[in-house]
């Protein structure tokens, strides 16, 4: 039994000391210092880069060291998270510990005032009045009641009078049979809760962060204009996630200022559910689409392909140039009966003798070698016939020498001339088909974070700018007139309270 109880008290003691450890504000200061100091690291060493980048920047040895310490993703590293957990436990334990006493202060059995306490205050306002006590007493009581939430009037008994004034002047003139009345006032007891609201708000924010990382995700999806998707890809590992509905990008547009800076990115999105169009919304940066717990943010864009192109076709023989607008997939007759040209595709890059020529169009050209007779004798009607005939011919015999794939880059207008064909093609203009890049986010924790934000602001406001203030107006009846002493204190912001006492006293003089 003895051993057991010793063990028990030992346990109690050790749990007690753990409790003590977490109630200490020293710990708070140290943890906050560590959080601040380590956060600096993450701002100096770029986060979440690639391995090659780090190897190149820091060398092999430091790379291994930093990597072992998770410094390349330090805000998610175990030790950083541990600091946050320590902070949370610290806040919880500390608040519980202090709340007991604060609670008693805020909800006392009976509100009492101790006149001695006020008499010891350094800052007092003292003045004399000619009125008699009875008339001024009620006025002052009403005044205090109006300015403070609680007002109490007390007769001061002879034995309480004492001579504990800091004010010698008053002491000298003191007579023991003077009649004295004190009016006490107070307000803002509840403001002592403010600091708990602040601390609670931090817990809400951290909880929101945890909820978000457990049950939320960040993904990305690129949708070409006109296309529909039903899933997005996680930022971290590219795994697809189902959206639960379909989303179509109707169009994307970007506008520019005359300085060349982008002015606005806009995507028109349609939500499709059960193969029915549900609704359409234009999103821009700062105005996302929110639906069923998911949010779609305008985050990037790019050129997916082209819708159409305007070609300049130059004939080598006549030197004439022709403008021709074409859609992808369209086939045209080359002017001057030069043959047939089909615009097959838009490509992002094209390899030409080891060089990438960048974005451009690919087409299929069937040149008809210029034959004077042909040119003179054909009218449009014939031409079509001939073409049809040709096509049949082509597929019949295997003579393909006339058909070639040509590439027309956007950046290099003279490139097609080098082919030395009968006709050269050049892009005058083209209509881009964009894709819109959407950040897709699900974050069920965000509301907890926002609630924390609101608590934080309210809590700070209460703790910083409101206080528990008490005031005492003591009135001493003299042979001629009254002596009035106004004093007061607050649990914070002593200077402000001093000013307030001065202010109140001067108002009372006027009453």
């Amino acid at each position: 039994m003895t051993i057991n109880s010793e063990k028990l008290s030992g346990n109690l003691k050790s749990s007690n000391s753990v409790w003590k450890f977490f109630t200490s504000v020293k710990l708070t200061v140290i943890v906050l210092l560590l959080l601040a100091a380590t956060s600096v690291i993450g701002t100096i060493i770029p986060q979440n880069g690639t391995e090659q980048f780090y190897l190149q920047k820091y060398g092999d040895v430091f790379f291994k060291l930093f990597n072992a310490l998770d410094i390349f993703d330090m805000y998610n590293a175990w030790w950083f998270v541990l600091l946050l957990i320590l902070l949370s436990i610290n806040i919880v334990v500390c608040s519980i510990d202090k709340l007991k006493t604060t609670w008693k202060i805020i909800f006392p059995d009976k509100i009492t005032f101790n006149i001695e306490r006020f008499r010891h205050l350094k800052h007092k306002e003292v003045f004399e009045l000619d009125h008699n006590l009875e008339t001024i007493e009620d006025k002052y009581f009403e005044f205090i009641k109006k300015n403070f939430s609680v007002a109490i009037k007390e007769q001061i008994l002879a034995k309480e009078k004492g001579n504990n004034y800091n004010n010698e002047e008053l002491d000298k003139n003191e007579k023991h049979n003077d009649k004295r009345v004190a009016i006490f006032g107070e307000r803002g007891r509840w403001t002592r809760f403010g600091v708990y609201v602040v601390h609670l708000s931090i817990l809400f924010m951290l909880a929101g962060g945890v909820i978000g990382s457990l049950w939320g995700f960040k993904a990305f999806v690129a949708i070409p204009e006109g296309a529909t998707v039903d899933s997005a890809f996680l930022r971290d590992n590219e795994t697809p996630v189902e959206l639960g509905f379909k989303i179509r990008c109707n169009s994307f547009s970007v506008t520019f200022y005359d300085t060349g800076q982008p002015e606005e990115f806009k995507s028109s999105l349609t939500v499709i559910e059960d193969d029915k169009e549900s609704f359409t919304k234009d999103i821009i940066v700062n105005d996302p689409l929110r639906y069923k717990g998911l949010s779609f943010y305008q985050s990037s864009y790019g050129i997916d392909s082209a819708k159409s192109a305007l070609f300049k076709i130059t004939s080598k023989e006549s030197g004439m140039t022709y403008s021709q607008k074409m859609e992808i997939g369209q086939t045209i007759d080359v002017p001057e009966s030069g043959g047939k040209f089909t615009l097959t595709d838009f490509v992002h890059g094209y390899n030409f003798q080891g060089h990438n020529l960048g974005e451009g169009f690919v087409g299929k050209l069937i040149e008809k070698h210029s034959d004077k007779h042909d040119k003179v004798n054909t009218d449009k009607h014939d031409e079509v016939n001939t073409d049809k005939h040709d096509e049949v011919n082509n597929s019949d015999d295997k003579n393909h020498t006339d058909e070639q794939e040509i590439y027309i880059p956007i950046k290099f207008p003279t490139f097609d001339k080098m082919r030395r064909g009968e006709f050269s093609f050049e892009i005058e203009d083209y209509e881009k088909k964009y894709y819109t890049g959407l950040q897709v986010t699900k974050d069920p924790g965000v509301w907890y974070v926002y609630l924390g934000f609101i608590f934080m602001i309210i809590g700070c406001w209460i703790t910083f700018f409101m206080s528990h203030q008490t005031i005492c107006v003591e009135m001493i009846k003299k042979d001629k007139g009254l002596n009035i002493i106004v004093s007061g204190s607050a649990n914070k912001n002593g200077q402000g309270m001093k000013l307030k006492i001065t202010d109140i006293a001067s108002k009372m003089k006027q009453l």
Binding site: L32, A36, E264, Y297, C460, Q495
Partner: protein
């Protein structure tokens, strides 16, 4: 008259006000501090007009945006917030001399904006991410916070160079050195230590509240533009670091009874963090296009 000219003039008015405040302290002439207050008020008026005019100009150009979106504008606004806060404090506490180390900060911020060759006063259009009502809320609150810390910094310096009544005062009267006595009486001219201590605390609380709101509006904005309320970009991290430093200060004062010189030092460290958040972070890669 365009806004840049008004703001350049304001710079010189602020310079004049600082000279008067410093002079009133050096020559122990209260009149100069009084004059300083009026000149400072004049500068503040010019500053206000400059900002409003710039706002109007941006509409005339067709960009139509609040004047808080590049380094030049933010510095001008920084001066404005410090001046506003300081004028408020001087009026409320009826202490003139406390402006000695605050007015130079007001001047330096706007002077840096007006005179630095690397800071352009051109009105540029807003990129899409900055087009949000949160921009105004975010910038205004952040800079009110910075202003609180800047004023606290000025008071802290004042606190630290003022000798304590007992300690150094005694030494000086012993070795009867004239110059030192003069210096001593100069420092004694500063407001009482208790008041300074209190004012530092007040300003830190003011700054802390607004920095808090600034960080919060920033993250709400980030969430509406990019879908993440916190992404640990260097500017975000540094504002959080600053916030931690001042949270430490508040706890040291409230719970560990730190006062006076020690708190003044922590407040100076805090302001260094503010400056780094404001200027230093631009040297690091990140999302914020300016301060």
């Amino acid at each position: 008259m365009n806004s840049s000219i008004i703001l350049s003039i304001t710079t010189f008015v602020y310079a004049f006000a600082s000279v008067l405040y410093i002079g009133s302290w050096t020559f122990k002439k209260d009149v100069m501090a009084k004059a300083g207050f009026f000149i400072l008020t004049a500068g503040f008026t010019g500053n206000t007009m400059g900002i409003i005019l710039r706002w109007i100009e941006s509409y005339k150009i067709g960009y139509g945006r609040a004047p808080f979106s590049n380094m030049y504008e933010s510095l001008v606004f920084f001066s404005w917030t410090i001046a506003a806060l300081y004028l408020f404090v001087e009026l409320k506490y009826r202490e003139r001399i406390i402006g000695v180390f605050v007015t130079p900060i007001i001047f330096l911020a706007i002077a840096y904006a007006s005179l630095s060759p690397s800071i352009s006063d051109k009105i540029t259009p807003l990129i899409p991410a900055l087009k949000s009502n949160w921009l105004i809320a975010h910038v205004v609150t952040c800079f009110l916070g910075y202003a609180g810390f800047a004023v606290a910094f000025g008071f802290s310096i004042m606190y630290l160079i003022k000798p304590t009544e007992s300690g150094r005062g005694l030494q000086i009267s012993e070795n009867n050195n004239k110059a030192e006595t003069h210096l001593h009486s100069l420092f004694s001219k500063l407001p009482s230590l208790d008041l300074m201590d209190e004012l530092i605390h007040q300003m830190v609380m003011f700054g802390f509240l607004f920095l808090t709101i600034g960080i919060i509006t920033g993250s709400v904005w980030a969430n509406s533009a990019w879908g993440t309320y916190w992404s640990w970009d260097p500017k975000e991290s540094w504002s959080l670091i600053t916030w931690f430093v001042y949270a430490i200060l508040l706890h040291l004062r409230m719970m560990r009874g730190w006062h006076g010189r020690r708190i003044a030092w922590v407040s100076i460290v805090g302001f260094m963090a503010v400056l780094f958040t404001y200027f230093g972070v631009n040297l690091l890669p990140g999302l914020h296009s300016y301060a």
